[in-house]
Symmetry: C2
Subunit: 307 residues, 2 copies
């Protein structure tokens, strides 16, 4: 039996729609995989945020990713999967990606690791695609390799690791609303104004430079999305009030995590982080929205075995 952990992640990091991702420490999905009698994959149990999640291996990204992985390996043995779902689905924290990554990683280890990281990302991303409708690797690649990642190309898949900034403090606040990636993609415009195109490109480039330079200030001020955020903010009551509250408490950057509804702030000051989180929770509360805060850093490891 192997037990694998895959971290939560912020997809669409700031301006980097479908391109940049960031792995989150201390929070992720766990998949246990063991050999079973017969053939095929079975998800025997889901714990944690199991509500509304299907154990049908065609509908759960853990099942789909595991299937893709064993197809790539050419294996036909029976496998039993247990999924400990710690990331709430529809939270914008790469929940479906983490399940897919943990499953692909676990199954690969179970059979002696014949697949490399590139193939595992492929298997997990194909699983993501079958539930979200589009092939994009910003969450799966990030959850697999950790740190920040750049997906240069989806076809062929090319992911560039950008590393981590150890002193970055990330304040996540998850309102108790559900935004489905599929719906959050459907409301996006088909065209982007030239000015937003240039601005998001410049800020995405600056995020890449920030990781290589270990420049947290630059990372924070480049978390600026003038294209996607204004559209998706409409799905989240109080978005701009929460943003204002965070910046007023000293947050250096603020944006949506993935398709939302989770939002995040970046700071280098662990002391301030609590006040920022509380201000964000209060601002949601004034709009009648309950929320949780979670203060953490960047996960630099990605998918890994647990004891």
């Amino acid at each position: 039996m192997v037990r694998a952990f895959a971290p939560a992640s912020i997809g669409n990091l700031g301006p980097g729609f479908d391109v940049l991702g960031l792995a989150i420490q201390g929070f992720g999905d766990i998949v246990e995989a063991k050999r079973a009698r017969g053939r095929g994959i079975e998800i025997s149990k889901i714990t944690g945020f199991a509500e509304h999640l299907s154990r049908d291996i065609q509908k759960n990204t853990a099942g789909i990713a595991a299937q893709k992985a064993i197809q790539m390996m050419g294996i036909e043995e029976g496998i039993e999967l247990l999924l400990h779902k710690q990331i709430p689905p529809g939270s914008g924290l790469g929940s479906s990606a983490a399940s897919a990554v943990a499953a692909a990683f676990a199954v690969n280890r179970l059979f002696g690791s014949p697949l490399d990281t590139h193939h595992l990302i492929h298997a997990a991303t194909a699983a993501e695609a079958s539930v979200s409708g589009d092939f994009f690797a910003d969450n799966t690649a990030t959850s697999m390799i950790g740190g920040a990642t750049l997906t240069r190309s989806n076809d062929p898949l090319e992911v560039i690791p950008l590393g981590t900034i150890p002193r970055a403090v990330i304040v996540l606040v998850r309102p108790h609303l559900k935004v489905l990636t599929r719906r959050a993609r459907a409301i996006l415009p088909q065209k982007v104004p030239m000015k937003g195109f240039v601005s998001n490109m410049a800020n995405s480039c600056a995020i890449v430079a920030a990781f290589f330079r270990q420049d947290l200030d630059l990372l924070a001020r480049a978390i600026e999305d003038s294209v996607i955020e204004p559209v998706r903010a409409k799905l989240i009551p109080g978005f701009y009030e929460v943003k204002e509250a965070a910046l007023k408490e000293g947050a250096r950057g603020f944006s949506l995590s993935g398709a939302g509804p989770t939002v995040f702030s970046i700071t280098d000051d662990a002391e301030k982080a609590n006040a920022i989180g509380e201000a964000m929770v209060k601002a949601f509360s004034r709009k009648g929205v309950d929320s949780d805060q979670f203060i953490t850093g960047i996960d630099s490891e990605g998918a890994r075995l647990l004891p």
Copy 2:
């Protein structure tokens, strides 16, 4: 008297419209500045590609940039400028930017360097703006500081130096056509398809990563512009035939330089560079267009004094 050199540059590097620039070795404009009687700035002479260039200091970017610089310094003395114009205007090689940069740099040195690089870029970019119609620093910042640059923001101006890749070989081919930046900007669409937005953002990010990683292969394959190039290619007869000829000879990346009409290829093989250049010139020639080739590398110094 001081004599300053500012290198030519590739603006809009590949996908990085208005955002990324690359300085070119061994090719640039020279400005001599000396104190003169009376007040105000005079351009006493223009040599080289002087045709159609005005000596009116309100119309020549060297004059405008020098004026901006002395305004910033609070100086009212008389100054005489001589401009040695080595970069053909309208070639897509940052000709107006290099004149502006060399002039601002020279005037600043003439009075003991009271201005820092940031202010000099500002002066030069304001001069660019008054002839091209828009404030964008991808050529001016690059010509000033050398290497590759990322302009994260125009207002306030923020430029991030990306350094150089010493073994990069750049094959420039300049067809004898003239494309005015103002016109090349006017034909651009006001909106960008979502797919092109994501693709150019991803490739621009990859160019930034390539400089930090010293990865010439990555730089070359990220020189891919699916947004601006297809529009501007229409202004250049034979563009796609020339591209095909370059790639067939082993060029690793190909695009327009700035607004064109100059095109460039990147390779790591100095031997191949000649064959690539010749194939490009021949392809233009088959379309009835004369052209010159110029093989060089990345300028890593930017503006500097000459003896």
